[in-house]
């Protein structure tokens, strides 16, 4: 047995213990099982990181999973730099959120169940990132989707929660449809679905075209786009983004772990992992960049007007995921992964802070009913403030470095749409800062706008919740320091300060950038200005004159309504996909094909036979002399035939 197997299988063990014995034996001690397991994984992951730093990567098969003809695939593990980063992100966030959940879920009826699911999720996510072939990746992929389904629908007695879980699963299935086909095309092209041979051979066949459903398409583009389908489903990019805002029905630690830090970034991980394929297809890259850019601005605009504290953060997640896609689309995979890594900390922190606020507000989510919480919950306020600064790209904090790197590489990279997505990215940076601080100001500043009863209940969260917040704050501040742009590094006197980029180089390569130092400084300045401008505007609107936003909403009522209704995408899908399918099922297939056509034939044949015999039986008059006459005639005919032939 290899040490790294402990990383995924410790959480799996915890899951099994909790789900099998949780109800009867473990009960209120369920968190011990899960936390110990996940913390164990974290320790092994750190150990793995040290090994990988020394250059020891792993690519081994455990056992043959499926073997059929020439199709052979194993359960296998690949540990390289990319995997290690993901391992650290997943186990760190998971451990902290497990700890946080002890306080947050305290006294819940399904306490053991919650921890079982969290551990199962961690297992699946780790299997996903550690896979050395596409099918195991797919296993983890669907596995995390399943856990997401369980955890979104954790409060399954609520219709909205169970609806949201179902929606998440089914929307993801749409993406996985393409992903699965992508795996199949890979197998039929290369005869294997292991990463290594596929990535080494892809260069040789990239120029080939393949007939796909009658169309001649470039092989690399086809594979890349099919895989990309899976990525947009899991990472909730346009047009499959609809599930993520609804997913906020789940308990807040779940939103933090699954729908911010880890699972939703799996799409980005996929893009980075398959960078050898994507890099060979310019159309696929452009699609990725554009989808990322569109999603980021789309989600950011929606977030401007929402009032649900968790949904705002969810749209913010969408927007940031768009950033990561944008980065991958312009070839800056390292920057994408870097943003994934910093984002995991500050976004998980934002969610956990929101959870802390909800905890104090007895489940209240409406921003308009909060206000002035600063004095009741100082720790939450401070940490959330820092997280918001980080996401707004204030220099020195984690978000600044990753966002800046993305924007710079988009601008200076070789991508044909680079300038365009850079412009969108910069606007989004402004919007992000604005809505993040709108949230902060409405929640923590001003007067309390809730009920008297709620105000009495206000309190700072217990230690088990605030300690993870503080630990994550360290990440939100400092995690970016491993990737300080070399330009800045020179100023502060650190050589090769973008250590992260160097670390990822063996897997993701070095992104191209053609630009002068002056340009780089200028861009950095623009994005910082955008961030600070957003914060400033939010301060004017929500700290100063609160009448302005109300006035704006009235004046631009049409736009406001579109944003408030999230561009009516849900309604669009409901009217174009869901309802027509159900209508066809009910009225065409059940009503006509099955009930009328098939049953008509099936029941029609016996009925026809019956109908004929209804007429035929009339020959049987019952009159003896009729029979005799017919008999005589028959005898006559036979006699005549014999005599005359």
């Amino acid at each position: 047995m290899n040490y790294y197997l402990l990383i995924p299988f410790l959480p799996l063990t915890a899951f099994l213990i909790n789900i099998l014995f949780g109800k009867k034996y473990v009960q209120e001690r369920a968190h011990w099982v899960s936390i110990l397991a996940v913390a164990g994984s974290w320790i092994v992951a750190v150990f793995t990181l040290l090994k990988v730093l020394k250059g020891e990567t792993v690519n081994e098969d455990l056992y043959t999973w499926v073997l059929s003809g020439t199709f052979e695939v194993s359960v296998g593990f690949l540990i390289d730099q990319l995997t290690t980063v993901m391992l650290i992100v997943v186990t760190t966030c998971s451990t902290l959120i497990h700890i946080y959940s002890v306080g947050y879920m305290h006294g819940d009826k399904g306490y053991y169940r919650f921890f079982a699911y969290l551990s199962l999720f961690t297992f699946c996510m780790l299997m996903l990132v550690m896979a050395n072939n596409f099918l195991q990746l797919y296993f983890g992929w669907e596995g995390v989707g399943l856990c997401s389904y369980f955890l979104i629908g954790y409060y399954f007695n609520k219709k909205s929660a169970s609806d949201a879980g179902k929606k998440a699963f089914i929307v993801n299935r749409f993406g996985d449809f393409g992903f699965g086909l992508g795996i199949i095309v890979i197998f039929l092209t290369f005869g294997t679905i292991y990463y290594e041979p596929v990535f080494t051979q892809i260069g040789g066949v990239a120029a080939q075209t393949i007939s796909f459903l009658g169309y001649e398409v470039n092989l690399a583009t086809l594979i890349a786009l099919l895989l990309f389908c899976g990525a947009i489903g899991k990472s909730a990019q346009m047009p499959l983004h609809v599930w993520l805002p609804d997913a906020m029905e789940g308990p807040t630690p779940v939103s933090a772990l699954i729908h911010a830090a880890t699972m939703v970034t799996a799409g980005v991980f996929l893009l980075a992992r398959c960078s050898p394929i994507f890099s060979l297809s310019e159309p696929a890259m452009v699609v990725a960049a554009l989808i990322g850019a569109i999603t980021s601005i789309f989600a950011a605009t929606i977030a401007l007007v929402q009032n649900d504290i968790k949904r705002i953060i969810a749209y913010s997640t969408l927007s940031q995921l768009g950033y990561m896609f944008l980065a991958c689309g312009v070839g800056a995979y390292t920057a994408g992964i870097f943003h994934l890594y910093t984002h995991a900390f500050f976004k998980a922190l934002l969610f956990l802070c929101a959870g802390s606020v909800m905890h104090a507000m007895a489940g209240e989510l409406d921003l308009q009913k909060m206000g002035g919480l600063k004095k009741y919950m100082p720790v939450t306020y401070a940490t959330m403030f820092i997280a918001s600064l980080s996401i707004s790209g204030v220099p020195g904090l984690a978000g600044f470095f990753s966002k800046d790197e993305i924007l710079w590489l988009a601008y200076a990279g070789p991508s044909p749409v680079g300038k365009f997505v850079w412009a969108i990215g910069t606007i989004v940076a402004f919007l992000t800062a604005f809505y993040s601080f709108r949230l902060i100001f409405l929640t923590f500043h001003g007067e309390f706008r809730g009920t008297q009863k709620q105000e009495h209940h206000l309190h700072e969260s217990p230690k088990s919740m605030t300690v993870p917040l503080m630990l994550l704050t360290i990440g939100a501040v400092a995690s970016g320091w491993v990737g300080i742009p070399n330009l800045l590094g020179e100023v502060i006197g650190i050589e090769h300060s973008n250590w992260f980029s160097g670390f990822m180089n063996p897997v993701l390569g070095h992104p191209e950038a053609h630009g002068t130092h002056a340009e780089e400084w200028m861009l950095m300045g623009i994005s910082v200005l955008a961030g600070l401008g957003g914060i400033g505007l939010a301060a004017v609107f929500y700290l100063g004159r609160r009448s302005i936003p109300v006035l704006l909403a009235q004046k631009f009522g049409f736009i406001y309504r579109i944003l408030w209704n999230k561009y009516y995408v849900d309604e669009l899908y409901s009217h174009t996909i869901v309802r027509p399918t159900l209508w066809i099922s009910q009225n065409i297939l059940m009503g006509i094909t099955d009930a009328k056509i098939i049953e008509l034939i099936v029941n029609g044949v016996p009925r026809a036979i019956g109908g004929v015999s209804q007429h035929l039986r009339k020959v049987q008059t019952g009159l003896l002399q009729h029979y005799a006459a017919i008999m005589a005639t028959g005898a006559l005919i036979i006699g005549a035939w014999i005599l005359l032939r």
């Binding site: 049987q620 019952g622 003896l624 002399q625 005799a628 005589a632």
Partner: protein
């Protein structure tokens, strides 16, 4: 010597009378008698062929037919009586139990 044709003609005439009677008369007893007529018409032709061919097997067959006809008459009449008791009529048109 009466030629064979004459016998056969007689046989045909008797048989046709039987057929005609069976098909047109409505009283079941008359119909039954018509059946006997047809049987006897066959007997006539059998006997005449037998004589014409100088082969006694025809006679033997006729005796069989007479015997069977006697048995048949007994059973047939018994059935008719049973029917009459049930239906209180011997009219064949009223016996349509087998109508489909």
């Amino acid at each position: 010597m009466v030629p064979l044709n004459w016998y056969l003609m007689l046989s045909t005439v008797v048989f046709m009378i039987g057929v005609f009677g069976f098909l047109t008369r409505k009283n079941i007893i008359i119909m039954f008698i018509s059946v006997e007529l047809m049987l006897n018409a066959v007997n006539i032709s059998l006997v005449s062929f037998s004589h014409f061919l100088q082969d006694l097997r025809g006679h033997i067959l006729v005796f069989f037919i007479i015997t069977v006809a006697a048995a048949e008459a007994a059973i047939g009449l018994a059935l008719i009586i049973a029917l009459f008791r049930n239906k209180t009529t011997a009219h064949v048109d009223e016996m349509t139990e087998m109508k489909g």
